[in-house]
Structure formats: structure tokens, C-alpha cells
């Protein structure tokens, strides 16, 4: 397993891969932190409209340094800009969009994802200060809820597991996982491998995955550009 660190995708590459599945005309929410990176790799010629739960639809990238307007921020409290056609709304309307299933895609980070679609991404347990933000809403908030994550933890433990051990964010909510090694769908309570890096064997991939990777048709090579 020691060579996983050498072959695995960077965060940028995982974000790039996730961006390829965002269709033209999609309404998208990107979780705070790593998922925000997906917007950088929006496919040319496709228009995605980004939603931020603090009340903006169709915001754009960060302004130039020094040009920040701190009333114009995203859910991660980073300064953003507006695209033509943007709209402001209050928090109840914003979460009506989320909870009402009006987003096409939500992309979130994960501590653990289980083969039954359960997600744990908000709490590592009892110590410290708990904080949940909008994560528990977002997992019920989109027609498609995807996760982007390293395939294993910093200590090498699997993040794709049979059952989550950490406090849940949502039950049975994730349908696709983009990892540093593979693209895995969740269907009927099991992981189905769709793509993997050519450099890793199925056996080695299974060895760093905490639940069975099922096959359902051919497994494509996970191919991403240098970034």
C-alpha cells in the first residue's frame, strides 16, 4: 500500500473529476472547504449556478484582494462576487431551496461514507466544540448528493466503510463518491465501483476500502489532467 501516496489524485484533481459530472444548467451547492474547489474546474461551455446557503444564487469567484465586500460572502465566510442574474434571499428561502430538493447537485466532504449511503462529516465525537452548520440540511437537499474525499484517512484507515462509526450527518443520502483513487456509486445499499486509477489494482483498491466494492459492468480508468 505504500505507493498509494504516490499515485493518488490531489485534491484539485478530485475536484476536477467531480466537476466533469456537473451538467449544463445545474444548480449546485458546494460544501465549505475542499468542495468549494470544484467550482474552479467547471467545464467550459457549461453554465452551473452556485447556491450558497447564506442567501445568494449565482455567485462568482473571489474578488481581487482588497476588493472584498464582507456583506457578499459564501457559506465559508469567504468574499465572493456576483454573476449577472444573481439573487439574494433570506435564510428560510435559502433552505427551502435546499430541503425542497431544488438543487441538482450538492458536493460535500466526508469523514466516512457507508455503503448504505450514510454520511459522517460534521463531528469527530464528543470532545471539543460541536458545529454542524448547513451540512445536515444539504444531505437532504439535492437531487444528487456526492462526496469528494481522500480514499483513506491521514493514518491510512478507510473512509469508505460498511457502517459509519462517527456521528451521522445523514442517513442513506450519498449516491456517488469521488475519492483520490476511484469513483464509487452507492446503489441499493452497496458500493459499485465505476472508475479507478489504472495504477492501482482492484485488489489493492479493495484492501484500502472498508466495505465490498461491487462491480456492475466495466470499470473505467479514472483519468484526470495534471493540475
Amino acid at each position: 500500500m505504500s505507493d498509494i501516496a504516490n499515485i493518488k489524485l490531489s485534491n484539485a484533481q478530485i475536484a476536477w473529476r467531480a466537476a466533469q459530472d456537473i451538467e449544463d444548467g445545474s444548480y449546485v451547492n458546494l460544501g465549505i472547504g475542499f468542495p468549494e474547489m470544484v467550482a474552479r474546474y467547471q467545464v467550459a461551455g457549461r453554465k452551473a449556478i452556485y447556491h450558497t446557503e447564506n442567501g445568494i444564487l449565482d455567485f462568482g469567484p473571489a474578488p481581487a484582494p482588497g476588493q472584498e465586500d464582507w456583506d457578499l460572502i459564501n457559506a465559508g465566510k469567504k468574499a465572493v462576487t456576483l454573476n449577472p442574474g444573481a439573487a439574494f434571499f433570506h435564510h428560510a428561502d435559502s433552505f427551502a431551496m435546499v430541503r425542497g430538493g431544488h438543487l441538482d447537485v450538492a458536493i460535500l466532504g466526508a469523514f466516512e461514507v457507508a455503503e448504505n449511503g450514510d454520511l459522517a462529516n460534521w463531528s469527530v465525537g464528543k470532545s471539543g466544540v460541536p458545529a454542524v452548520g448547513g451540512a445536515m440540511d444539504l444531505v437532504h437537499g439535492a437531487k444528487r448528493v456526492a462526496v469528494i474525499t481522500d480514499h483513506v484517512t491521514k493514518t491510512g484507515a478507510p473512509k469508505l466503510v460498511e457502517r459509519c462509526s462517527l456521528p451521522l450527518t445523514g442517513v442513506g443520502c450519498v449516491t456517488r463518491v469521488y475519492t483520490s483513487l476511484a469513483v464509487v456509486d452507492i446503489e441499493g445499499g452497496r458500493f459499485v465501483l465505476r472508475e479507478k486509477l489504472a495504477a492501482i489494482s482492484l485488489g489493492d483498491l479493495q484492501a484500502v476500502t472498508g466495505a465490498t466494492l461491487n462491480l456492475d459492468g466495466p470499470v473505467a480508468d479514472l483519468i484526470v489532467p495534471e493540475l
Partner: protein, 235 residues
């Protein structure tokens, strides 16, 4: 991303028999008359119509009823200056009525759009309109549990739309429009004017475009009330 569609006929062309259709408007204010008449031209049957009222005169929803397209109406106030179409169909047993208090109707539609499957309201508690519904007591007061209301389609009238579907309304024509846009699987909007994205100030948008699927320009939209004053008939 361009949600505009060529004409009202194309905008409603896929509404099938048996569909549930929310129709904006309170009396004539906000009534999307041109979309309704396009739907009459298409002629699907067995529709469930959700509106505050149940038609007035011989146009709009009343004309849908006269055309035999409506199986059921969900509304708060099926009376109007000229309620013949609904009254005759109802008394003859040709149309089903679900009578809902106006605020409950609005809140049920909002709940449908907001992913809230049920809520409690004091409205109708202890009355016959609460019959058969679950009740609960909170802080010593009785409440009725009401369910969300969704629909397959919404027909809504706006004043200005941009190509992304952002909307502003005109005066009290707003009424149920923003709620119905949220609660329908497919939302079809007629707008007096269609503008480029960015032409509506982001602070002034009432319905963000994500709630809207199709936008059709009807620059000379008629007011239901004016048509009724003229004695118009759509058949």
C-alpha cells in the same frame, strides 16, 4: 442557460391528462389567463387545479371547467362575481372540491416547496374543516396537522422575468405565485417582459430562477377582471 420558450402553446404542450396544476392568482390579480387559455386549447382532462378561487365568468379557470377538463379543485373560496361554471359542475357532482382555509392553502404550498411534509396550524382547529386530520396540543393550545401540497405543474404570471427565470411580480398580483413556483415539479411562467440576466437587481428578485423551468413572453397580457367586464367568453 435560457429558460425562455417560444409561445404559450409550446409552454404547456406537455401537460397530460390527470396532471395536478397550480394556477397563480387571487381573483383576477396575477391570473395567467393566456397560459390557461393555451392549456384549454391543448385540452388535457381529469386535471386537479389548485388556485385560491374556482373561476369567474366564462374565461380562465371557469372556461377550463366549462370545457370539462377539471376533475378536482383545491381552493379556499370557490365563489366570485359570476361563479356559474364551478357552481353548476359542483352541484351536478361533476367536480370534486377540497376546501382549504386560505392561509393553510398558502402554507401547504410553501411547505411543498420547502421540503416540509407536515406542519401544525391553529387554523380550522375545532371546525369541520379539521375533520379526520391529526391534532396535537402545544403549550396548552390545540393545533391541526396539515400536509404539504405539491403539483406537477404551476402556471404563474410575473411582470418581468430574466432568461434564468428570476421573477418580479406586479402589485398584489404576486399573491400565490412565488409559492407555486416552489411547489411544482415544472413551473411555467408568463411574463410581460423578458430581460437579460443582470437586468433585475439581485436585491429585488422575488422568485429566484431555480424555482422556474420555463418562461414565455406575453407582452400584452390581459387582466381577468377587464375581460369579465367586457363579457369575454373563452370556448
Amino acid at each position: 442557460m435560457d429558460k425562455t420558450i417560444g409561445d404559450v402553446a409550446a409552454a404547456v404542450a406537455d401537460i397530460p391528462d390527470g396532471a395536478s396544476v397550480m394556477i397563480g392568482g387571487f381573483g383576477g390579480s396575477g391570473a395567467p389567463i393566456e397560459l390557461i387559455h393555451a392549456l384549454i386549447d391543448r385540452g388535457p382532462r381529469d386535471l386537479t387545479v389548485i388556485n385560491n378561487n374556482a373561476g369567474n365568468g366564462r374565461i380562465g379557470i371557469a372556461a377550463m371547467i366549462d370545457a370539462g377538463m377539471v376533475r378536482k379543485i383545491i381552493c379556499s373560496f370557490p365563489k366570485s362575481k359570476d361563479p356559474r361554471a364551478f357552481t353548476e359542475a359542483y352541484l351536478a357532482g361533476r367536480i370534486e372540491l377540497e376546501l382549504v382555509p386560505q392561509g393553510t392553502l398558502a402554507e401547504r404550498i410553501r411547505a411543498g416547496g420547502a421540503g416540509i411534509p407536515a406542519f401544525y396550524t391553529p387554523t380550522s382547529f375545532g371546525t369541520e374543516l379539521a375533520a379526520g386530520k391529526p391534532t396535537a396540543e402545544f403549550d396548552g393550545r390545540g393545533y391541526v396537522q396539515e400536509r404539504w401540497l405539491k403539483a406537477d405543474y404551476a402556471l404563474v404570471k410575473a411582470e418581468i422575468a430574466d432568461r434564468h427565470g428570476n421573477l418580479v411580480y406586479r402589485k398584489a398580483g404576486r399573491n400565490f405565485g412565488p409559492l407555486m413556483c416552489m411547489a411544482a415539479a415544472t413551473t411555467i411562467v408568463q411574463a410581460t417582459r423578458i430581460v437579460e440576466p443582470g437586468a433585475i437587481d439581485p436585491e429585488h428578485v422575488v422568485t429566484p430562477g431555480l424555482f422556474v423551468d420555463r418562461v414565455v413572453a406575453v407582452p400584452h397580457a390581459r387582466q381577468e377582471e377587464d375581460l369579465n367586464i367586457e363579457g369575454a367568453v373563452y370556448a
